[in-house]
């Protein structure tokens, strides 16, 4: 589905991503974990086309998209839920959802999908006339996810969906990620909450200072001593 080869990304002099390769197969939940500043967000932003890589290749559904616009990637069925949610604060919940479907023209399908995402996140239905900027952090996270789903992505990239949420809400969000995946959407999940992420992932990559240092199935990494020490608190 998604394949990255030898990706290098710089911020001026900072070499943020150093030769990263990874792949996500159709139907999988793959997680990318790592400490603060490891380069997870940079990797996702590069995949989404918001940041240009210095070298390397990104392939989506067999088509090379390394230089493609973010718009083209959305058209091809990829969506990113960015770190920090980035909902449109001065627009209502409903307007945010409609913008998620910006590239679609099928009015009836859009209306049906708004119903569908409100099924995942019932709170959004109650709040649909409310400005997104006035939502709580958890509600904004749900809105950001729902908005991304409105483009009907085949692959959904999630950047720390659990950040700043209560444990209860985190479990809820992870349950929904599994449901979305069960409905056929491939998922690449970036997390600092390694325990939760590994528990739902089919495969995982561990990133440290711009490089992938470990990879394997979720279960394998859960068992690994290094991971337990570094990310799972013993």
């Amino acid at each position: 589905m998604l394949e990255i080869r030898d990706l290098n990304v710089h911020y001026d002099m900072i070499h943020a991503i150093k030769g990263v390769s990874l792949e996500v197969h159709q139907g999988e939940i793959v997680t990318l974990i790592g400490a603060n500043g490891a380069g997870k967000t940079t990797t996702l932003r590069t995949i989404a086309g918001l940041k240009k890589p210095t070298s390397g290749a990104i392939t989506l559904k067999g088509e090379e998209i390394t230089a493609a616009s973010p718009r083209h990637r959305v058209q091809m069925g990829q969506a990113l839920v960015p770190e920090g949610r980035h909902v449109f604060p001065g627009m209502t919940v409903l307007e945010n959802l409609e913008l998620g479907a910006y590239l679609r023209r099928d009015k009836a399908g859009i209306a049906a999908d708004i119903e569908m995402v409100c099924g995942y996140f019932p709170i959004l239905k109650d709040r649909r006339k409310q400005l997104a900027g006035t939502l709580s952090g958890g509600e904004q996270q749900m809105l950001a996810m729902a908005r991304a789903l409105m483009s009907r992505p085949e692959i959904l990239l999630l950047d720390e969906p659990s950040m700043g949420l209560s444990p209860l809400l985190v479990s809820e969000i992870f349950a929904i990620i599994k449901t979305i995946n069960g409905a056929g959407t491939t998922i690449l999940l970036v997390e600092q909450n390694a325990g939760m992420a590994l528990s739902i992932a089919s495969r995982a990559y561990v990133m440290e200072t711009g490089s992938i240092v470990l990879s394997g199935t979720g279960a394998e990494l859960m068992e690994s001593d290094e991971i337990r020490k570094a990310y799972l608190g013993g």
Partner: protein
């Protein structure tokens, strides 16, 4: 009372023109955080296009207005593409200096082609030359036309911004550029649309001012441009309703100051308002006082 009402009518007419120009400042600021100094010159060129349409092509008010709006629309988009777009990732000060340069270029470029002499809009005839009195207040047909045109344009703008795809894209880009890109919105395209709309409104204001005050010249944009900018800041820069309200408030205040016999101070009062607003409520009348987000 009659005198006050009369001045209110005059203030609303002048305020319409400020509001139309202020909208362009505010929309462009909202989307690329640039105070587009060249905007007031687009308004001036709109006045000239209207003048040439009426004088040499013998077109009526409405066709001239439309041609001027179209011409300014093209000009605004070209300016953005040629002068501002290459600096999209440069320091903001570079962009600001470029805008000032563009303003001077348009002013003296126009002067080169049409000379610096004052031009006079043709006298209006027929219905457009009429005026009537309501309850002791004289309203000229020009004033009616100015206010009517402005209201129609503002309603059109509100419709575009609220309900069309392009308008939604504009709001999305001005709120969060990255998020807008993630929705599949073409940011460059959206910026062009914003310049197109803002410039068309300025072009309309130029024709209206020509019809209202009759004489135009290549430097006519400078002072009204600054006042429209004050209007935009007054209402809250980046906020479309703010520019509308700000335009009317500044227009009315200016006319009241003149009516009170302080014509000499009319400009000073407007700029004193700017200073007061910046001290008391920097985010403007309709703005929320939040630190500028980077």
């Amino acid at each position: 009372m009659d005198v006050f009402l009369q001045q209110l009518v005059n203030g609303i007419s002048l305020g319409s023109i400020y509001a139309l120009v202020a909208l362009g400042y505010t929309m462009v600021y909202g989307i690329i955080k640039l105070i587009n100094f060249a905007h007031c010159d687009i308004y001036m060129i709109g006045a000239y296009i209207g003048y040439f349409c009426m004088t040499f092509l013998g077109l009526g008010f409405l066709p001239s207005l439309l041609v001027a709006m179209l011409g300014c629309m093209v000009l605004g988009v070209l300016i953005e593409k040629i002068a501002y777009k290459p600096l999209r990732n440069a320091a903001r000060i570079s962009l600001l200096i470029t805008a000032i340069g563009m303003s001077l270029f348009l002013e003296y470029g126009t002067m080169f082609f049409v000379t610096a002499k004052l031009r006079t809009y043709p006298a209006l005839e027929g219905l457009m030359a009429k005026s009537f009195t309501v309850g002791g207040v004289m309203i000229t047909m020009q004033q009616v036309v100015i206010v009517l045109t402005t209201v129609v344009l503002m309603l059109g703008l509100q419709y575009i911004v609220k309900y069309t795809r392009a308008g939604k894209a504009m709001r999305a880009v001005s709120m969060d550029k990255d998020a807008a890109e993630l929705m599949g919105i073409d940011v460059n395209n959206t910026i062009s649309v914003t310049f197109a709309i803002g410039s068309a409104l300025a072009g309309a204001a130029g024709v209206l001012v020509g019809v209202y005050y009759n004489t135009i010249n290549p430097l006519m944009g400078a002072v009204p441009g600054l006042k429209a900018f004050v209007a935009a800041v007054f209402g809250g820069i980046g906020l479309i309703p703010g520019a509308m309200v700000g335009g009317y408030v500044i227009g009315i205040i200016e006319v009241l100051v003149m009516g009170a016999g302080y014509s000499t101070y009319r400009d000073a009062v407007v700029f004193a308002i700017l200073i007061l607003i910046l001290i008391l409520k920097p985010a403007g009348l309709l703005g929320k006082n939040v630190g500028e987000k980077v």
